[in-house]
């Protein structure tokens, strides 16, 4: 993760609105599917979880791993993405 990805930049460039969960950085098709299966169909639902976990990276990553078997890189990217979004828009 030498620099933020294009997906990351796209996501934090604007309010998330009704974006699907796959728009989150680090969440691809597979993870997206798993998350939708777990009830997290929109990015804002994941944001809600992120906020419930008080933006704590460790817990968030743990949760990601738990719900959709995300690896450390994916979950860290997702966390970073949400954090940056929060800094910008929350």
């Amino acid at each position: 993760m030498s620099s933020t990805s294009q997906k990351h930049r796209n996501f934090i460039a604007e309010p998330m609105g009704e974006k699907p969960v796959t728009d989150l950085a680090g969440v691809g098709e597979v993870l997206g599917k798993r998350l939708v299966a777990a009830g997290f169909d929109k990015a804002y639902v994941v944001l809600g979880q992120f906020l419930v976990l008080k933006k704590n990276q460790e817990f968030f990553q743990e949760w990601m791993k738990d719900t959709c078997q995300a690896n450390a890189k994916q979950s860290a990217e997702c966390w970073q993405c949400l954090k940056d979004w929060c800094e910008e828009f929350l």
Partner: protein, 719 residues
């Protein structure tokens, strides 16, 4: 500690986590599992903190390894010394068994417990022997103990023969087995009890072994030895501080460790800590040694000058003595002898000497007055003065006779240089005269008589001490002031030169930044747009803020000139831009593709939050050393500093931040260790300008050595 985490209610789970000191989130359906996992992990780690201490010990950067390779090498050596099986001196065994057989009787009270422990020790010894082939000697010893135990088992009174076994403890201890630690702990308790029974025994033994410190280090760290060494250490406050620090760090790790193991660690640390105190001492000594020679030279020079002064004074006092006169008598037949030039008529010598006796005190008085009291007084007497003086004060009123005698005195003064009277040939009657005015011989006097004034002067009047002292001090101070003045002038010049150079350097740097900015702008412009030219003034307006444009006009012109002369990728041309002819820069090089210039935080490589494997459980010091931010040839240290501060200054209090170009590190000092921990988590494992940033804790002493004038406490805190 076995709690059924699965069956806890949300509220219970919450309270449990709070107990463990964790930031607790709301327990909801989705977070519950994460929290349960966390709690499980916490409980598990709590149970095996002891085993963990090794790992965190290794991660802690106890020394500034890059700074002192030699030191770390030495450290290794010590570590190796402690790890290896110490060669056991053979003589050690003999006195021990003797003594233990002597004091067997008072120990009978403890018999039961002692036997059990000793057998256990032997087992451990054997175990350690099997695990680590520590060398033939230790095997031998262990076997010996075993056999002696078996032999002595029925006669329990002698079971204390086993006491030498602590001498094998280091190996068993280092083996890391907890059982060995426990056993050694118990053994040490026994040893402590035994030493209260026979206090003289230990002392005599250790005194003999104390002769050789090196061997001492290798030998078993016995209890009394510890205390001795610790007391030694406490004598030097520096080392206690050092020890104390590491103790704090260690205590967090050891937690459940036995007191005994801590003592061992202490002693180990003591030996490790000592080289650093040694270093301080050595540097102090060498400092003194370095200054010793110049100091001696100074003293010798001073003594030399005193001696010279004494000798000089001695010579001076000799000249004040009246010496017998040599009087050349004119011989009629000799053609060379001329009156008033090189001889005196017979019978005229005596009156001349009389006159001299009269004149001499007056001459001295005048010379003294000139030298000591009034510099404007004439130090000499002209012939007119002499005649007037004699006529006024003495019975002789005949001027011709006085003049004759005076001429004779002048002649004689050339023949008797010991009188200290010289004849002067003055142009006019003034106070000052040069050395040239002193007549070399009588011919000169005769020749110059018509034009010049002839005068007498006492060259070496007996100067009183007070006057002499005053003159010397005055001369000294005048020399001193001139020297100091010269030094001050030189210093000011030097300072001015340095100042000038600094300003020049700064200007040059600013110019270079502008040039780099220009190139950057043109490059990005060429990359973004199709037309690869820009109006020069527009570029200026992009770089310089409105309020600085006037002040930096000169700087800008220099930068423009620099680009003209030295940048081949930029061509200056004239073009019509929006209906106006303007000078433009055209970028001839390739578009900007380099991202290395982008100096910013680019994201995190690995997590460093509380509880993760990458962050320490506690922060030992308030000082951090950050690697990976400074690159070769980085000129803008301010930017690096700003980047560090912007990353973490919001969340913690930072006292001092410095960029060291030599070691390519950034040093950070926080208000306290907890702030350092925050900074650590914010910086460690991040990408900065394409490099991975790593952070280590640095000892406060080392930090203060490097930056002695860094603030000790805040506010102000850096932002």
């Amino acid at each position: 500690m076995d709690v059924d985490v699965e069956n806890l209610t949300d509220a219970e789970l919450r309270s449990k986590l709070i107990e463990c000191g964790y930031p607790v989130m709301p327990i909801t359906g989705t977070t519950r599992r994460v929290m349960m996992k966390k709690l499980k992990m916490l409980l598990e780690t709590k149970n095996k903190v002891n085993k963990d201490n090794r790992r965190s010990l290794g991660r802690y950067s106890s020394e500034d390894e890059s700074d002192s390779d030699a030191k770390s090498a030495r450290k290794d050596k010590y570590r190796r010394a402690t790890m290896a099986a110490p060669p056991l001196p053979v003589k050690k065994k003999a006195p021990r068994s003797e003594v233990s057989s002597l004091d067997g009787s008072p120990l009978k009270r403890e018999l039961k417990s002692v036997t059990t422990t000793s057998t256990r020790t032997t087992k451990i010894l054997q175990a350690s022997k099997d695990e680590f082939d520590t060398g033939s000697e230790s095997d031998e010893v262990a076997e010996k103990y075993e056999s002696s135990l078996r032999r002595e088992a029925p006669g329990l009174s002698d079971s204390f023969k086993k006491t030498p076994s602590p001498s094998r403890l280091p190996s068993s201890f280092v083996s890391g087995s907890l059982a060995a630690e426990a056993a050694s702990d118990r053994l040490n308790q026994i040893r402590a009890r035994q030493s209260t029974y026979s206090s003289g025994y230990d002392k005599s033994y250790y005194n003999s072994s104390n002769d050789d410190i090196l061997k001492d280090k290798e030998n078993t760290p016995f209890l009394s030895n510890f205390t001795k060494r610790l007391s030694q250490l406490s004598e030097s406050p520096k080392s206690t501080l050092y020890d104390y620090k590491s103790d704090i760090i260690k205590e967090n790790d050891v937690n459940g460790g036995t007191t005994n193991s801590r003592t061992y660690l202490n002693s180990y640390r003591a030996t490790r800590g000592r080289p650093s105190t040694y270093d301080y001492k050595i540097t102090n000594q060498s400092l003194f040694k370095n200054n010793f020679v110049p100091f001696m030279v100074l003293v010798v020079a001073f003594l030399f000058f005193i001696v010279v002064a004494i000798v000089y004074l001695g010579i001076r006092s000799d000249t004040t003595l009246e010496v017998t006169a040599t009087i050349p008598i004119c011989v009629k037949s000799d053609a060379n002898s001329r009156r008033y030039v090189n001889c005196v008529l017979e019978g005229e010598g005596k009156p001349a000497l009389h006159l001299l006796h009269v004149l001499k005190p007056e001459l001295n008085r005048r010379a003294l007055k000139n030298r000591c009291e009034d510099a404007s007084a004439k130090p000499y007497m002209t012939e007119q003065d002499v005649v007037g003086f004699v006529a006024n004060n003495f019975a002789i009123k005949d001027e011709n006779r006085i003049r004759t005698d005076l001429s004779n005195v002048e002649v004689l003064s050339f023949f008797n240089p010991t009188w200290g009277i010289s004849v002067l040939q003055l142009e006019e009657d003034g106070v000052s005269f040069s050395e040239d005015a002193i007549a070399a011989d009588m011919y000169q006097v005769i020749n110059g008589k018509a034009k010049k004034i002839t005068a007498l002067i006492s060259r070496h009047p007996p100067i009183p001490w007070k006057c002499y002292f005053y003159n010397t001090v005055w001369a000294f101070f005048s020399v001193l002031t001139s020297v100091v003045g010269a030094i001050v002038i030189l210093y000011v010049l030097n300072y001015a030169f340095k100042f000038y150079k600094q300003i020049r350097h700064k200007q040059l740097e600013e110019e270079m930044t502008i040039v780099e900015n220009i190139i950057d702008i043109l490059q990005t412009n060429a990359a973004d747009n199709d037309d690869n030219y820009m109006v020069i003034n527009h570029v200026r307006d992009m770089i310089l803020p409105i309020n600085e444009r006037k002040n930096k006009q000169k700087l800008w012109m220099r930068a423009v000139r620099y680009i003209h002369e030295n940048e081949s990728r930029i061509r200056t041309e004239e073009r019509v831009v929006q209906g106006e002819i303007a000078e433009v820069w055209r970028w001839l090089g390739g578009p900007n593709l380099s991202t290395s210039k982008n100096k910013s935080w680019q994201g995190q490589a690995f997590e460093t939050q509380v509880g993760s494997v990458n962050s320490l459980p506690c922060s030992p010091t308030p000082c951090l050393k950050i690697r990976g931010m400074v690159e070769e040839g980085d000129r803008n240290t301010m930017m690096i500093k700003k980047a560090v501060l912007s990353k973490c200054a919001q969340q913690c209090r930072i006292l001092h931040c410095a960029v060291d170009m030599n070691s390519k590190c950034v040093y950070l000092k926080c208000a306290d260790p907890s702030d350092a921990a925050i900074a650590y988590r914010n910086l460690h494992g991040w990408w900065y300008a394409g490099n991975l940033v790593t952070v280590k804790y640095l000892r406060l002493e080392r930090y203060m050595q490097r930056f002695p004038d860094s603030p000790v406490s805040g506010p102000p805190f850096l932002q």
